[in-house]
């Protein structure tokens, strides 16, 4: 196996091309082929990060794997797992007078469960874009600090930040809150913690995944120790970076574990991931947030898998600030629209093209379910990169 695990020299300039190097990719591809032969049966692996699915599509990495090795997409897209309750809350707040709702652009087109009246397309639910079209002040921001700036510039208005994301985005929110925010800023707490979801997956009927590529960005924060229960359940684990060499190195590491029947938590993405994560970030996160149960859209309420503000920060909680002003019935509504199978896609139980509305009723320009909205959504990535089409065989003259 090529030397791809070397820790980066902190003095050396970052050379992203190293991790795109075709000869390294070819070496890894060969190694993966050998491992697949040694294993001698089909193996299913899963990644748990939307960016992994995006990169798998962008570089067509599944093309490089042997037929017996499948890498499925798991619940790794923050937009896709965000429960209706929070989308509905954001929509309601955006329509409140003198309120500015700020959000990452990815979230704007995701339908919640409030029906959109008078739509001809069928059972269509309201998104933040629909709320904006109906007069809501909805603004796309690049970071939570943009929301803070908007709050400072609009002292006479309530500014709400729709804090969606996994470990990586919640860290920035914690850092901001700890350093103080204007009184008129609050956050919708829709941040998710990955490890409990990975432990839920093996308990589901028909689960046959043998290894997880752990989300490279999230584990730079949490470290790998929090995944140590998985090998005990028979599941191999490897941290995963996002360049082609990184992804294939993770696949090779998982296959080695499967071949040896010795699952563990390996760290091929060692150049950025420390086994215990980022201590300072973890401490700050822990000071501002605590783990609590949260609903994963269409999946379940999973204990200790959501980040909620600790008591000293309750003043910044939108749910608490606007309690009593929101329509509680509308917050909790029906789940996905009829026919949408995003939940099964998110759990890796079906492929996007096995869903009846994929590519017909549900397309990126008219998404039916959340997995088709975000660039990190599995359905979106499959649609964009044509992974649902039969392998692209080229004929020339």
């Amino acid at each position: 196996m090529p030397e791809v695990r070397a820790t980066r020299d902190p003095q050396a300039p970052f050379e992203p091309h190293t991790y795109k190097d075709p000869s390294l990719v070819a070496d890894l591809q060969r190694r993966i082929g050998e491992l697949a032969v040694e294993i001698g049966r089909p193996v299913k692996l899963m990644h748990i990060c939307g960016t992994h699915e995006h990169e798998m599509g962008r570089y067509a990495l599944r093309d490089l794997l042997p037929a017996s090795v499948d890498v499925l997409a798991g619940p790794g897209c923050p937009v896709c797992v965000c429960d209706n309750e929070y989308i509905n809350m954001a929509i309601q707040l955006s329509l409140r007078p003198n309120t500015i709702l700020t959000s990452f652009g990815d979230m704007l087109a995701v339908p919640g469960s409030i029906p959109l009246e008078g739509e001809r397309r069928g059972d269509v639910r309201m998104s933040l874009l629909d709320a904006r079209a109906r007069g809501g002040d909805v603004r796309a921001v690049y970071s939570v600090f943009d929301a803070k700036r908007i709050a400072e510039q609009n002292p006479d208005k309530q500014v709400v930040f729709f804090s969606v994301g996994f470990e990586t985005t919640v860290v920035a929110v914690a850092a901001m809150l700890k350093r103080g925010v204007p009184d008129n800023l609050s956050v919708i707490e829709a941040n998710y913690y990955t490890p409990p979801a990975t432990r839920l997956l093996p308990t589901l009927d028909g689960f046959d995944i043998e290894g997880f590529i752990l989300p490279g960005h999230a584990v730079t924060i949490t470290g790998l120790r929090v995944y140590e229960e998985l090998p005990a359940l028979g599941i191999a684990c490897a941290s995963g970076g996002f360049e082609p060499v990184d992804v294939l190195a993770s696949v090779a590491s998982l296959l080695e574990q499967v071949r040896d029947g010795a699952p563990t938590v390996s760290n091929p993405y060692q150049r950025l991931v420390k086994y215990d994560g980022n201590e300072r970030a973890k401490a700050e996160l822990n000071e501002v947030f605590e783990l609590a149960p949260i609903r994963w859209r269409g999946i379940a309420e999973i204990p200790l898998s959501g980040y909620k503000l600790r008591e000293p920060y309750w003043h910044a909680s939108a749910a608490r600030r606007f309690a009593g002003q929101l329509d509680e019935v509308a917050l909790r509504g029906a789940e996905h629209p009829k026919g949408c199978r995003c939940a099964e896609v998110t759990l890796g139980q079906i492929r996007p093209d096995e869903c009846g509305v994929f590519g017909t009723l549900c397309t990126p320009d008219s998404p039916y379910g959340p997995c088709m909205v975000s660039h990190e959504g599995t359905c979106r990535a499959w649609y964009t990169y044509g992974m649902h089409k039969e392998q692209l065989r080229v004929e020339t003259v």
Binding site: T51, R58, G105, E376, L392, R393
Partner: protein, 353 residues
């Protein structure tokens, strides 16, 4: 309407400047101030005979052949960006639309929608930039219009340009002429404009040493056509990037278009920021790029002509037309794997993480 300040009344103003600091509603009302703005700014700057007549319509000479006719409205935020501005964009955009049809652009109109309060010096800079670009392209701006929108009802400045070009009867180009085996060329690095403009948008403010590629391409196109008469198809690559153009070409056709990832010229800075922002340079906007499909035996000559031109130094052959898959634009990666180059759906925006 308040009176112009003493300073602006008495100060010596350069050609193409108004005695007003900002655009007033009266500048669009058709009265005295409108005439003043037209004469002081537009006629003085664009400076050509048909315009000077101030008639209701410009009377133009017809050099013969068929007429190519194109219009485009322009809005860009910010109006001044590294490497260009909305004025250069408005002229180059319409010139390029005509040139890729094989036409020689000659005349253009310019219609301005200005917001009340728009800075007059900034308007003068935009107009001068249009003149410089028009001269570069060899076109005259011979007709115009100005309307002023009440404050709050416009976004500073919008410009519509409409262009006329002439093309000889024997020019034959179009998707119908494309054949498997043809080569696909671009005249330089992709995504420069998109990333340069995005870097200056509110909320990002990246310190990027990168300029937009906005440029009129009729000169480069004429140089290529002189050495490669069998250019099958051309289109300027703008919003939606190369991905949009490639998909337009293959749509419902009995051939496919293959792009080799490693052959696509991408500026190092664009590559770095695309990675950081989660944007694909193949989908990012350009304003000075053309994609050409050329018969294989003329591809090298076409490439040479591009490279010899200032707007084509980093030109490259990036792909070819294939028999199968039909109707699909695809990317072949450095690893030999292949993906669909899908039609872009929306504006490219940075992702959550």
């Amino acid at each position: 309407m308040s009176k112009p300040s003493e300073d602006t009344l008495t100060a010596e103003r350069p050609v193409g400047a108004s005695r007003y600091d900002t655009v007033r509603l009266s500048h669009g009302s058709g009265g005295k101030l409108t005439l003043e703005l037209i004469e002081e700014l537009f006629v003085a700057t664009f400076s050509n005979e048909p315009l000077k007549e101030l008639t209701d319509a410009a009377i133009l000479h017809n050099p013969g052949g068929r007429i190519a006719f194109a219009t485009d409205s322009h809005t860009v935020k910010p109006a001044f960006f590294p490497g260009g501005d909305i004025g250069r964009l408005a002229v180059a955009g319409t010139v390029n639309d005509l040139a890729v049809m094989g036409a020689t652009p000659l005349y253009m109109s310019a219609a301005f929608l200005l917001e009340e309060g728009y800075d007059m010096d900034e308007l003068a800079r935009v107009v001068r930039s249009m003149k410089v670009t028009a001269d570069e392209a060899g076109v005259s701006i011979v007709a115009g219009d100005t309307k002023v929108l009440e404050r709050g009802h416009g976004d500073g400045i919008f410009i519509n340009t409409t262009g006329i070009g002439f093309l000889p009867d024997d020019v034959q180009m179009g998707v119908a002429f494309v054949r498997p085996g043809d080569k696909v060329l671009v005249n330089g690095t992709l995504g420069d404009h998109g990333i340069a403009v995005m870097s200056r948008r509110e909320g990002l403010d990246l310190a990027v040493d990168l300029t937009s590629d906005v440029a009129p391409l009729n000169g480069l196109i004429a140089a290529v056509r002189a050495v490669a008469p069998n250019v099958r198809f051309m289109r300027d690559v703008t919003r939606g990037g190369l991905a949009a153009v490639a998909n337009e070409v293959v749509h419902r056709q009995a051939f496919g278009l293959r792009v080799f990832d490693v052959a696509v010229p991408v500026n190092e800075i664009v590559e770095e920021y695309s990675e950081m922002l989660g944007i694909d340079p193949l989908l990012a906007a350009n304003e000075g790029k053309v994609m050409m499909i050329v018969a294989a035996d003329e591809a090298e000559a076409a490439l040479g002509a591009m490279k010899a031109h200032p707007f084509g130094r980093e030109a490259a052959i990036i792909g070819d037309i294939v028999v199968k898959p039909e109707g699909v634009a695809l990317v072949e990666t450095a690893y030999g794997s292949r993906r669909v180059l899908e039609m872009p759906i929306e504006e490219q925006l940075p992702r959550i993480c």
